[in-house]
């Protein structure tokens, strides 16, 4: 054996994406207390999301929803051995840096909280901690991956107990992936240009206010240190990879409206790698039972007799809301 120069690397893309790979086939549960976190761990959750309030209560309470109290997150980290995740507002670097310093295992840059930045998401490559981000379609998913997200989830419509939006987002992403198969490299480059346009919003707005033509200037950084051309190139490369893999290059979970074991099984049938359950567990009448049932449903999604068995006698699921009647559409936050 030769002498090794030992160089330890931390926060690499492989470690961040690798962490997400370890939660595949699992259920990540929203919890708001140590007691709930322990129930989740005992039910077989692969991780918990530590929150101040579950999305259904955030919806009800209104006002500005922010990062949870670090004291509460710390208590939950101390109470369970499984990974602990926590949410930050879209674009809020300071909340993300604080949670990274606290040592949470993954940060969810989430539309469930009130956005801090109406132009941009966090440049997640600048962090050692891995991020998960929501997406409604292929464009949002690819932009978040380009920004360094190690994991994608559907946005769905959180806190509604209504699966319809999550199904829509899975369909939009999956169809987009299949469509790429039929496109030439040139056509994919044009898709990359289209997908990169949201990054221009700030630059165009400033030019308009200056009375200048709405044109992209050469060597003009439009997001962090990146020019439009660099962003298009980056997104083009990701799209080529997706075309050949025929899936996203990162782990992809369902979220936003999963309320029953059958909802979870449906998401797995549609090709998701696992599910987040927010309000669905602790807003049901028997959280322990619901938690175990959803874990089993994800594990046995293709065995209908198991889904039938675990769905029996679960008590009241969360009440649920119709999308048309909502005052706030969380999914519309962050493009």
């Amino acid at each position: 054996m030769g002498i090794l120069r030992v160089i330890e690397q931390k926060g690499t893309e492989r470690l961040k994406r690798g962490f997400a790979r370890m939660v595949k086939g699992g259920v990540i549960m929203d919890v708001t207390s140590v007691e709930q976190a322990i129930i989740a761990e005992e039910a077989g959750a692969v991780a918990v999301m530590a929150l101040e309030k579950v999305p259904a209560d955030i919806r009800q309470a209104g006002g500005v929803a922010r990062m949870a109290d670090p004291k509460k997150i710390q208590e939950i980290m101390d109470a369970v051995t499984i990974p602990v995740m926590a949410k930050v507002r879209i674009g809020h670097y300071a909340e993300a840096l604080a949670l990274e310093a606290l040592g949470v295992d993954m940060i969810d840059e989430s539309e469930v909280l009130t956005p801090a930045d109406t132009y941009f998401h966090i440049d997640k490559r600048k962090f050692n901690v891995p991020f998960v981000c929501g997406a409604r379609d292929l464009g949002e998913a690819v932009r978040r991956i380009w920004e360094g997200a190690a994991m994608i989830r559907t946005k769905g419509e959180a806190g509604t107990g209504n699966i319809v939006e999550a199904v829509k987002h899975v369909r939009l992403v999956n169809h987009g992936i299949r469509l790429l198969k039929h496109l030439t490299d040139d056509e994919i480059y044009r898709v990359a240009e289209e997908f990169s346009k949201p990054y221009l919003k700030l630059s165009m707005e400033v030019k308009e206010r200056c009375g200048l033509p709405r044109e992209v200037l050469r060597n003009e950084p439009i997001y962090e240190e990146y020019t439009f051309e660099e962003i298009v190139e980056g997104i083009y490369k990701i799209l080529l990879e997706i075309r050949s893999l025929q899936r996203l290059p990162v782990v992809n979970f369902a979220a936003g409206g999963v309320a029953t074991p059958a909802d979870a099984a449906l998401m797995m049938h549609m090709g998701m790698d696992g599910v987040f359950v927010g309000s669905g567990i602790f807003k049901s009448s028997n959280p322990e039972k619901m938690a175990r049932a959803i874990v089993e449903a994800v594990n046995h999604y293709d065995e209908p007799d198991v889904i039938a068995e675990v769905s029996r006698d679960l008590g009241e699921p969360m009440r649920g809301l119709e999308i048309d009647k909502l005052l706030v559409r969380m999914e519309e936050r962050g493009l």
Binding site: E8, K10, L15, F19, M22, E42, A45, D105, V129
Partner: protein, 195 residues
């Protein structure tokens, strides 16, 4: 040859892919299968327990009957490789187990869960293997640490002075993730056991 990967939760597809590449490199005709039910264990010539959440994997294996059967087969000499969470599931002694968590108790090691800290402490570093001269890419994600190697187990992988992999007759246990690298030497070494 038919190799199974316990597929209840975790990085299953990555092992399936790595095993396929290893079989092809070795010129062995064989298949790799996800094992989620008891009947799928029939006719496997080797088994991998992947990385994931050890609490979840052992719970689901108990629930669907895989746990007792894998324990029996491992005791009878079926080659089994456990990586990260899989090592924890194989171990005889575990420090930092969740309450009520069960282990196969096949491998003569004492391991500590999440021994290096949290995800921000996860790291990559070259490691050495006893059976190959060149360094191997060690990928450690919320990794456990092997505190003691005793009985019939012997060290086969090292990071600095630390033991990060052991072998005990038909069993291999690793704290790192060979399935996340492109290097198939560890998988090939394991497949040799099933020949």
């Amino acid at each position: 040859m038919r190799i199974g990967v316990i597929g209840v939760q975790g990085a299953v597809a990555e092992h399936v892919e790595a095993l396929r590449r290893a079989l092809a490199n070795m010129g062995i005709h064989g298949g790799v299968a996800w094992i989620r039910r008891l009947d799928q264990l029939k006719d496997v010539s080797a088994l991998v327990i992947p990385g994931g959440e050890s609490t979840t994997i052992s719970k689901l294996m108990c629930k669907n009957g895989l746990f007792d059967e894998v324990k029996r087969l491992g005791g009878e000499g079926l080659p089994i490789m456990g990586t990260c969470a899989g090592l924890i599931v194989l171990a005889k002694r575990v420090v930092g187990a969740a309450s009520g968590q069960r282990f196969l108790e096949l491998l003569d090691v004492e391991v500590q869960r999440n021994a290096y800290g949290r995800q921000v402490d996860s790291f990559e570093a070259p490691i050495t293997l006893s059976f190959s001269p060149d360094p191997f890419p060690g990928i450690f994600i919320r990794a456990p640490r092997i505190l003691k190697v005793y009985g019939r187990a012997r060290p086969i992988a090292f990071y600095r002075e630390e033991v990060v992999g052991v072998e005990q007759d038909n069993l291999l246990g690793l704290t790192f993730h060979p399935e996340l690298s492109n290097d198939t030497r560890v998988h090939e070494y394991f497949i040799e056991k099933a020949k």
